[in-house]
Every structure is written in C-alpha cells, then in structure tokens.
Symmetry: C3
C-alpha cells in the first residue's frame, strides 16, 4: 500500500480488516518494523481520536511521531496557484508539503472540507496538493470528502461484532446544530459497498450523497422503514451535498433514540465521534449496551496500525 | 497504588517520599518498567512544570507519552448530565474520557477549579467524571481542590533539606492580582497533616480553607507570629473558600520579604510556581539562598516518577 | 561545543559542515549518544522547519524531546528586572528558565526580535536571560539577531552543491508585506565571512545591516550589478536596522525572478523559508531547478544533528 486515501488503496478489504483484528490481540508483534522511520501528523483541524490513536499505532510499530498543528504552532498556508502572497498566508503549500516530505517518511494529514466551494472540496484540493508536493506516502486523517481510517475501523467493528452472514447496516442522517462535511458518510458508504453487508441509507430529502460515493445503494426517506431489521445503525449528521453545505433540517424526529431501536434486530449503534448528545443520538442509546461507539473508537488504533504496517512494508 | 488523586491514595507517605529521593539519585533504574505502556496527559489548563516533569518521569520509566490540550487541539467538552448539546460543546466527557481510556494505560488530568460554583468544584465534578468514564487509572495533574504531585514534591523537598526532627512549616497566604484556586494550599495542608512536622497556617480573616483540608491545624491571623521560628515557609495566594472565589485582600503587607524571614529560623522558602514576583514573594527572597523553589521544581520529576512507578506496579 | 548561539561557538566552521554532510549519509550512526538525555524546545514564536527538523535530529541521536509552546500551552513570561508582577505576565523568566534547566539537558529556544526596541533586541535580552538562568547548554532556534542553525545549513548546502572553489554568494534584499527581523541576513553574513566564498550584499539604501554582522562585506545598491556572475543567490526580506523595524520599501523590482537569474552564473537560489511567493521570490524561480530551497530545508536535520552531537560530546 503506497498511500491510504480511500478504499481504492486497499486491494483486499476483508484481509486488512482481519489484519487489524489480529493486531488488536498482539499489538507489539511488529514493534521494530518502524524503527528509524518518522510519521509526521499535520492537523489543519481539531482532533482527539485520530490524533491519539494514530500516535499510539505508530508507537506500537516503533516509529517516531512528530505532530504539527497548522495555524497555532506553524505558519498559515497558502493553496492558491500563482498568488501574490501579500496577505495573511505566510507559506505556500508547495514549500510546506515539500519540506515535511524531507523530514517524514510517512505524512498523515487532516484537512476538513470548507463547505463553501463544492468543486474545490470534491477535487480534494488540499490533500492532492500535499500528495503532489510532499513526495512521500500520505495517510489521510480525514480529508474534504473521506475519512478512510474511520471507515476501516467501522468495518472492523462490524466484523468483530457480527453474529451472522450479511448483516443489515443502516446509515441514517441525524440532526446537528452546525453544518458538517460529508466525509464520514461518503467514506462509510464507499467501504460498505465493498463489504459483505446489506447496506441502506436513510435521510430527509435533499441530503443525498454524491453518486460517486453512494452509488446505487438504496436510499429511503422514511427512517423507520430503513431501521426495520437493522443489525447495525450508524446515525450521523452531514450537510447537504446538492445545496452545498446547507443545513436543510434540524428535525429532531431524526435523532436516534432507544425507542427507534426497538424496530431493529437489536442493532448495535456505531458513530465516529464526537457526537452531540440528544441531538444526533439520545442518551438512552449512548448509555445503553446498544452503543458500541467506545469499542469502535478503541479499534481506531488497530485500523491505523494495520494501514501503517502495510505502508511501511510497501514503501521501505 | 491504583490511582493518585490525593494523599489518601498513599498508604505510606514517608516511604513514597524516600522512594522519590532514591529515584532522584538513580532515575534510570526502572527504564523498562513502562515499556509498551502509554501515559496520556490531558490538559484543560496551561502548564509548564507539570507538563514537562511528568513527561520526563514517564520517559525515565520507558513509557510512551501522548499530550492532549483540550480546546486548542481537541474538542470542547460537555460535562452536564442530560444536556441537549446544541451549543458550543462538541463532545461529552462520557465519550471523551472513555475514548482516552481506550488509548492510554494511565491518564493524567489537569482541570482547575472554575471558582464560580463551590459545590461543583469541591465535588471534583470534572475529575470524578473522567475517573468514572475513562476506566483506567487516573493521575491528578491538579484538580479543582488538590495538587497532590506538588504536595508530594513539597514534602520530598522538606525531607531532603531538613536538618532536624519535626521542623516548623508555615503556610502563609500572600497577595495576587487574580483569584486563584485553593488546590495548592488544600493539598499542602492535607499532606503536612500526614507528615512529622509542626504545621501552622496564617492568612487574613476570610481566607480559611475548607475544614476537610485544614482539619485542626492552628490558624493565625498574624503573619509575624506564625513565621517566628519557622524552618520552612510556603507563601501562596488563594481566593476565599467561604466567600467563594473572592479576592478579599490585596494587602502587600502579606508579601513575603527578606525582612520577614529574619524572624524565622533561617527558613527555606517553598513555592509551587509560577509566582508573581514582588506581589506574592519579593525579589530579595527569590534571588537569595533562602529560596529553594528551583530545587523543588526539579524534584517534581522524581515525585511523578515514584507515583507512576507505583501505578505501573499495581495496575499491570 | 558548550552552546550554539552564533558562528563564534564553532571553532572549525568547515569541519562542522563536513560533519553535517557525513551525518546526512549515515544519520543513525550515533543513535545511542543521546540516550537518557532530554532536549527541551521552547517556542515563543511559530515554527515548522526548526520544530520538526530539530526533533528529528534529536531522535536520530536517541534523545528524548519535549516541546513547550509559550503562551498557548504554558504561562506568559515576564522579562523585566524588579517588576511588580500585577499585570498579565504570570511567571518570570528567572523561574521559567531555571525550571526548564532542571528538566532538560539541552534547551533549544526560539525568540524573535520584537522590532520596537533595537537596543533590547540587539542585546539579545531574552536569549541572554534564558542562558543565564537555565544553567544548561542552550541551542538557538533563532534569536532576535541570529538564526545560526539556518546559516550552518546554508553553508552546508552551498558546500554540497558547489562545483568550484570560492563561489560568488549574493545576499539580496527582497520585498515583503510585513516587517521582518534581521536575524537571518545577520547570521548568514556572519557565517559567509567565515567561509571560503566571495560574498556580496545588495539592498535598497537604508537597509544596511549592523556593522557587527556585515563587517566590511561589499554592499551594492544595484541588484543587477550584484547578481552578475553569482553562483548562489539568497533573496530575503528584512526590515531596516537604522530606522529600526521600518519597512522602507515595497519595491517589486527587487523580487527575485527568473529573468534576473539570467545574469548570474546559473545560480542556485537559497532561502530559509517560509517565503512569500511572487513578493520575495517569483514562482518562475521557486518552481524551477534553480531553486534548492527544499534540499536546503532537508539539510536542517543534519545541521541540527551535527550541533547536538557536539553539544552532547562536550557537555556530558
């Protein structure tokens, strides 16, 4: 695996899931693999799980880790081509990325969607420029349109918990006070389409995901209908793709509650976290055994470790 | 030692002091003890000594350390029960703590008192919630009402410097431009009551510490009287407990000066730092051999190391 | 080498350059030298290259690294003598530096010029106080008047790329929207004067560097004349030393362009980075093979590693 930006970088989805599950049971088996290798982690946005779990994954492999927070610790970066830099950006990404490529053997990058310019976000402008100029393998820590370490973790968690072949997995939109990117649902859809699951998406009209991600996955506008018989439910907010970045609904009828889970097949509830309690998901779900969000967050370490292990094996 | 939140977590105060002093002379004796163990350090507030000395202590024991600064690097946390999270908090402590518990073998936490709601602060609301939800041993890096790593260091420094049995130790209030928590004096009082010292507290009326911390320690409102014959003096500001969070006095007569030390038994001066020069303590004290604040700060490493060593030995 | 603050700390400039070049080809040769030694990195200002390259250099030598960002992570520091600290500074540098000296075996410090008080900046007020109070060897990560790790890297890069004896090296002023310190040009001049090069400085009138740095280096006010036959060109903005901190010119005729390079001897272009594209240096230079700024940035690791190696060998 040269890089890890989307499910397309994984030739064998089910075998990397098995590798992550195996690492969970023996995390220190390859603790010399990354010796003398440096992982740089570049954050344009806040992070808790990704920040800590990826550091831990790298340490489990014996890598050095250097974290850079853009803006607070480092210089404000320019992404425009041909710009006369007389404003508030101090360094161009051409230099910023190339320099980090000099210091890091692998570069992890978190850069959220801006949600104002759809074409810019969906071209993965920031991530593509970093890849182009860094010259070293890049690991996505969530880009404008995808969060592949999360999606790998989600599939790992479903596999770990699954009691039956071809479980029903439902991705359901849920309300949120702010406009959020589509990266998590896009990426989840993309990975579920590569997995042996029955996958359904439900959301209010106007929240359709881009076709490149949702493909021909069934979309229901009736949440109750979608939830019926579900084995796994993934409630998650996102803003509109069509009316780009808009919050079309704050309808609390879409909040995932324990009552709604009654119509499922005793579904386990997944979420990438952070989540707004009692807006996206009710307390009576998160505080119940239905919720597996903490186990899922714990699995982030081993998903990242499986990916880093493959990147180390391929590139060095 | 399962956790380290107060002196009550130490069964044998004098023996952990001796252990810290021994580690000072041989800091690398146990440099494999923490291998493959991760210490997470979660800061809700600024830190210099605690941040660096605890990292160094963990590294001396061979642990990995991951630092998380809440707010600047990570998400703003919600502590309220049953809150509908439609405001500016992004993640609930229930998830935040539980997730860190997935990644860290020991979790260090700094969370100062808010000084507006006494009941909330003195219930140790934040620390208790983190302990409850993290599910891993917690190390206090200063909580709303206590700073036990500092107090252990203080006692270690008194022991290291002490020339005689049962020295007289005086905790004296000192002025400060801002309202500060009672954590340091509370904790110092609690630890001194477990030590073989003659302990006296002096402050202006209205600055009485909570009874659970001060117990029946003699309190004098006359600083000169308290300082007479002192072997160790700990000048420190705190805000009022009774009139919670209030600054009742800015009286510079309480600033510790070299002239005041003349009535002591050539007392050594302790302080947790940072200190406001010429407000809490005069230059002529801090710049004189009477001050042992730098040696004391250096001892923070070995106090933290003794505590982490015990936590590693007990929990794993 | 006890400390590293300027070229004056290096007894043999050409041999440390050779040592850095050798480390570039075998960076892990001394990976136990720094075991059980801690490098503290104290940042008063933003940093990308210095932050990451110095961490990596220390890791290559087996050192532990602890980073402290003043202001965001730690306390605001006071530098004044005899100040009554009732304002917004929380800790005096006397304590701050001395405490870090307790925890770190070597202390790296970045503290830019304030550009308002020339005497204060040129006395190296902050750096000198830290050296005085820390009590451990100090490594400059850029001070008010010098950036010696950058200058060593610059000379290393010139040596690495040089095809002939005594190349012509031109430091040329270039425009910039903000007032910048003189640290980089000062330091570059100081190092070039110790190297076997033909060194020329060019800038608009009023931008003369302090004599202690520029010495009797030829200064030309005509950029074209200076660039003629140059083998290496270092375009860099700085504010006025004479009219301290002033931006006397925004003249874009001084921007380094590909057209201007035509009059050189196919010069290689150096820069410390970050640079404002199309203000300091045109895209047609930075995006061409003339630019060696990325290779130069990569060399920062080995310059820092050569310095740290010598400091470890001398002090421990």
């Amino acid at each position: 695996m040269r890089q890890f930006l989307s499910v397309a970088d994984v030739s064998d989805v089910s075998s990397i899931v098995q590798e992550a599950l195996a690492l969970k049971h023996a995390p220190h088996t390859h603790d010399k693999l990354g010796n003398h290798k440096t992982l740089g982690l570049l954050f344009f946005n806040a992070s808790l799980r990704t920040r800590v779990s990826t550091q831990k994954a790298a340490q489990n492999l014996g890598m050095n880790v250097i974290v850079v927070n853009v803006g607070t610790e480092s210089w404000k970066l320019e992404f425009g081509e041909g710009v006369v830099m007389e404003g508030d950006t101090v360094e161009h990404i051409k230099e910023g990325a190339a320099v980090l490529g000099q210091y890091c053997d692998i570069l992890g990058v978190r850069a959220f969607a801006g949600l104002t310019d759809r074409e810019m976000d969906y071209s993965e402008n920031i991530m593509c420029k970093i890849i182009r100029y860094a010259g070293v393998p890049v690991l996505s820590l969530e880009s404008a349109t995808r969060h592949p370490l999360q999606s790998l973790t989600d599939l790992m968690t479903i596999t770990e918990l699954c009691q039956k072949p071809r479980p029903k997995v439902v991705l359901t939109w849920a309300p949120h006070p702010k406009a959020l990117p589509q990266a998590v649902p896009n990426s989840f859809a993309e990975w579920m389409r590569c997995a042996d699951v029955e996958f359904v998406i439900t959301h209010p009209e106007g929240y359709e995901l881009a076709t490149e991600f949702a493909g021909d996955v069934p979309v229901l506008y009736n949440q109750d209908e979608a939830l019926t018989g579900a084995d796994f439910v993934y409630p998650k907010n996102w803003s509109s793709y069509r009316n780009y970045g808009a919050v079309l609904s704050q309808n609390r009828n879409w909040t995932l509650t324990a009552a709604k889970l009654l119509q499922t097949n005793a579904a386990k509830v997944l979420h990438c976290l952070p989540t707004r309690r009692n807006v996206e998901i009710a307390d009576d779900v998160l505080d119940s055994p239905s919720s597996v969000v903490i186990q899922e967050a714990g699995n982030r370490v081993y998903a990242a470790q499986a990916v880093l292990k493959r990147m180390l094996e391929t590139n060095f």
